[in-house]
C-alpha cells in the first residue's frame, strides 16, 4: 500500500524530544517517589535520628503486632467495597433512567452533576452538619415521627464508615452516571429494538444486552471507584477524623498519623502495602472485564 520512501518520511518527522518534559515530570514526581517507597519500608527512617539503617521486615512485624495497620486496612476495604457497590448500582440506575438525550433529561443530568464540583473536604463538612447528632437529619426525623430523635449517625462504630462512604457516593454519582450513559448510548439501537420486538422485558434487555455491552464503562467505573476509595482522605478528615474509637480510621489517616508521629518508615510501609493492593486488585479487575469484552 505504501512505498518504503513514504513510510520513512512518516517516521522521520516524529520528534522524540517532545517526550522529554512529560517523561521528566513523571519520572521525578511519580516514579522516583514510588521507587523510593520500595526502599524506606525496610529502614528505620524516622524523625528522631539522622542515620538510616536497614531493618528488614521489622516495620511489618511491629505494625502487625500493633494491629493498627491491618485494622485500618480492613476499614478501608469495607469502605471501598461499600462505595463501589452503591455508587455503581445507583449510577447505572440513573443512567438507565436518563439514557435518552432530551431536554428534560439534560436538566436532570446537570442536577446530578452538581456535587462533582464540590470539594470532598467541603462535602464532608456539609454532611457532618446533616448527620450530626444535633444535625438536620435527626431534626427532620424528629418532626416526622413527632419524637425526639438523637441517633448518632457518625458516633456508632458499626455504621460510621458507611455514612462517610455515602458522601463519596454522593460526590461521584454524576460521573458514574455520565460514563454509563456514554456506554449505553454506544449500544446499537437495533439490538434493543429487536429484543423488544421479540418480547424481552426490561430486565432481560438489561441482563442480556446492556450490561454485557457496556463493558468498558463497567471496567472504568468499578476499577476507578474502588481504587479511589482506597485513598479516601478529605471526607474522613472533615467528618470524623478517624473516630469514634478509630472506627473510621482509613489507610490514608494511618499514614498521616504515623507521619505526624515522625515514624516515616511506618507511613511508607502502609504506602507500599496500598501500592501492592492496587496492583493485586486492579490488574485482575481490568483483565477480567477486558476478557469479557473480547468474548462478545
Amino acid at each position: 500500500m505504501k512505498s518504503p520512501k513514504f513510510k520513512r518520511s512518516k517516521i522521520n518527522y516524529i520528534n522524540y524530544n517532545f517526550l522529554i518534559p512529560a517523561l521528566i515530570l513523571i519520572f521525578v514526581f511519580f516514579l522516583v517517589p514510588n521507587i523510593l517507597n520500595f526502599i524506606y519500608p525496610f529502614t528505620d527512617w524516622n524523625t528522631f535520628k539522622t542515620e538510616l539503617n536497614f531493618v528488614g521486615l521489622r516495620n511489618f512485624i511491629e505494625l502487625t503486632i500493633e494491629k493498627t495497620l491491618w485494622r485500618d486496612l480492613l476499614t478501608t476495604f469495607k469502605y471501598a467495597i461499600f462505595v463501589t457497590i452503591v455508587s455503581n448500582i445507583l449510577g447505572l440506575a440513573i443512567a438507565l433512567a436518563l439514557e435518552k438525550t432530551s431536554k428534560i433529561n439534560g436538566i436532570y443530568r446537570t442536577l446530578f452533576f452538581i456535587p462533582l464540583t464540590i470539594a470532598p473536604l467541603a462535602a464532608g463538612y456539609l454532611f457532618k452538619g446533616i448527620f450530626d447528632t444535633d444535625g438536620t437529619l435527626n431534626y427532620i426525623l424528629s418532626i416526622i415521627t413527632n419524637r425526639d430523635i438523637n441517633f448518632q449517625w457518625l458516633g456508632k462504630i458499626n455504621i460510621v464508615i458507611f455514612m462517610v462512604g455515602l458522601v463519596q457516593v454522593w460526590k461521584w454519582l454524576g460521573l458514574r452516571m455520565i460514563i454509563y450513559i456514554a456506554g449505553l448510548n454506544a449500544i446499537p439501537k437495533e439490538l434493543i429494538e429487536a429484543a423488544k420486538v421479540e418480547g424481552s422485558n426490561f430486565w432481560q434487555i438489561l441482563k442480556n444486552i446492556q450490561i454485557p455491552l457496556i463493558g468498558p464503562s463497567l471496567t472504568f467505573n468499578i476499577t476507578m471507584s474502588f481504587v479511589t476509595s482506597l485513598f479516601v482522605f478529605d471526607t474522613v478528615v472533615s467528618m470524623t477524623r478517624g473516630g469514634p474509637a478509630r472506627a473510621s480510621e482509613v489507610a490514608n489517616l494511618f499514614i498521616l498519623y504515623k507521619f505526624g508521629e515522625g515514624r516515616f518508615s511506618y507511613a511508607t510501609t502502609m504506602s507500599l502495602i496500598l501500592f501492592l493492593i492496587i496492583c493485586v486488585v486492579s490488574i485482575p479487575l481490568i483483565t477480567f472485564f477486558r476478557k469479557r469484552e473480547l468474548e462478545l
Binding site: 518520511s9 512518516k10 517516521i11 518527522y13 516524529i14 520528534n15 522524540y16 517526550l19 512529560a22 517523561l23 515530570l25 513523571i26 521525578v28 514526581f29 511519580f30 522516583v32 517517589p33 514510588n34 523510593l36 524506606y40 440513573i94 433512567a97 428534560i104 443530568r109 446537570t110 442536577l111 446530578f112 452533576f113 452538581i114 456535587p115 464540583t117 464540590i118 470539594a119 470532598p120 473536604l121 467541603a122 463538612y125 456539609l126 454532611f127 452538619g129 446533616i130 450530626d132 444535633d134 438536620t136 431534626y139 455520565i178 456514554a182 456506554g183 448510548n185 468498558p216 472504568f220 481504587v227 482506597l230 482522605f233 478529605d234 478528615v237 472533615s238 504506602s271 501500592f275 492496587i278
Partner: protein, 278 residues
C-alpha cells in the same frame, strides 16, 4: 400500551425528582440557609429561613478570619498553571506516542500511563521535594500535579490523536514545516475537544484537592482554599459554629459552581464525548 408507557415515564420522573430533591437540592438548601443564621440558630441545623439575616456579617467574618482571599488567589494560580502545563506537555508527548511504532516508545507509554491507577507515594515525594528545595512552595505543588495528572492526560490524548488521519500532517511535512510548527498549527487545533474534556477534569481535581496542599504547602500565604477551609473549620471542631463552617463551604465551592453553571453544556457533553472515546 401507549398509556402504560406514559404512566411508567411519569412515575420514573416522579422518583427522579424526589431523588434529586433529597440528594442535591436538600443539602444545598441546608448549607446555604444555615450560613445566613446567627450562631445559636445555625447550631440547631434546622431547615427554616433565618429569623435574623446574617449573610453579610458571616461572609465578611469568614473571608477575613479564614484568609480566604489569599487562598482564592493561590488556588487560581495553582489550578491555572498546573492545567496549562499539563495540557501542553501531554499533548506534545501524546503526539509522539500516537504516531511512533517503536517498541521502546510503546514501553515508555505504558510506564507513563501507569500513574492513572497507581497512587503517588506522599511521604517519599516530600523527600524528593526537599532534595530539590521546592518543598512547601506553590511551584513544588504545581510540578507535582504535573507528574501525577500527565499520565491520564496522555492516555486520553493519545487515544484521540490515533483517530486523526495522518495524511493531514504529511502534507504539512511536504511543505517543509518543522515538527513544532506542525504541532502548533495542525495538531493542537484538532485536539480541542479532548483538551476541553481534560481541562474540565484537571480544574475539578486540582481546585478541590486537599490532601496534596495539606502535605506539601507550609505557610499561610501559600495556602489553597481547601486548606483555608480546613484550618478555619478546625477551630470549631469541638465547639460548633455551623453558620461559619457552612459559609466556608460555600466560599470554597462557589467559584467552581459558577464555572460549572456557565460551562455546563460543554462540561456534560465534553465528559460524555471523552468517556465515549476513552
Amino acid at each position: 400500551m401507549r398509556l402504560r408507557s406514559t404512566m411508567v415515564s411519569v412515575i420514573k420522573y416522579i422518583i427522579l425528582t424526589i431523588f434529586v430533591f433529597i440528594i442535591v437540592i436538600f443539602p444545598f438548601w441546608v448549607v446555604i440557609i444555615n450560613s445566613g443564621k446567627t450562631l445559636v440558630e445555625a447550631n440547631s441545623l434546622g431547615i427554616g429561613l433565618p429569623s435574623e439575616w446574617k449573610f453579610i456579617e458571616n461572609y465578611k467574618e469568614v473571608i477575613i478570619e479564614g484568609e480566604f482571599l489569599v487562598g482564592l488567589k493561590n488556588t487560581i494560580i495553582i489550578t491555572l498553571f498546573s492545567s496549562l502545563i499539563i495540557l501542553f506537555i501531554s499533548a506534545l508527548a501524546s503526539w509522539v506516542f500516537a504516531r511512533s511504532k517503536l517498541k521502546f516508545i510503546s514501553f515508555l507509554y505504558y510506564i507513563s500511563i501507569s500513574g492513572i491507577l497507581i497512587p503517588p507515594a506522599i511521604i517519599t515525594t516530600i523527600k524528593v521535594m526537599k532534595t530539590l528545595h521546592i518543598f512547601g512552595t506553590c511551584l513544588g505543588l504545581i510540578l507535582f500535579y504535573c507528574g501525577i495528572f500527565i499520565p491520564l492526560a496522555i492516555f486520553f490524548m493519545t487515544g484521540f490523536i490515533k483517530t486523526i488521519p495522518i495524511e493531514l500532517e504529511d502534507s504539512a511535512r511536504v511543505d517543509g514545516c518543522s515538527s513544532f510548527r506542525i504541532f502548533i498549527k495542525i495538531i493542537l487545533p484538532l485536539l480541542k475537544p479532548i483538551l476541553i474534556t481534560c481541562s474540565i477534569f484537571l480544574v475539578l481535581n486540582i481546585w478541590n484537592n486537599f490532601i496534596y496542599p495539606f502535605y506539601f504547602l507550609k505557610n499561610v500565604d501559600q495556602w489553597t482554599l481547601t486548606l483555608n477551609l480546613f484550618n478555619y473549620a478546625s477551630k470549631f471542631y469541638h465547639q460548633a459554629a455551623w453558620n461559619l463552617v457552612f459559609t466556608g463551604v460555600i466560599l470554597v465551592s462557589t467559584p467552581l459552581l459558577i464555572f460549572f453553571i456557565f460551562l455546563q453544556k460543554r462540561i456534560v457533553s465534553g465528559l460524555l464525548g471523552g468517556a465515549l472515546k476513552g
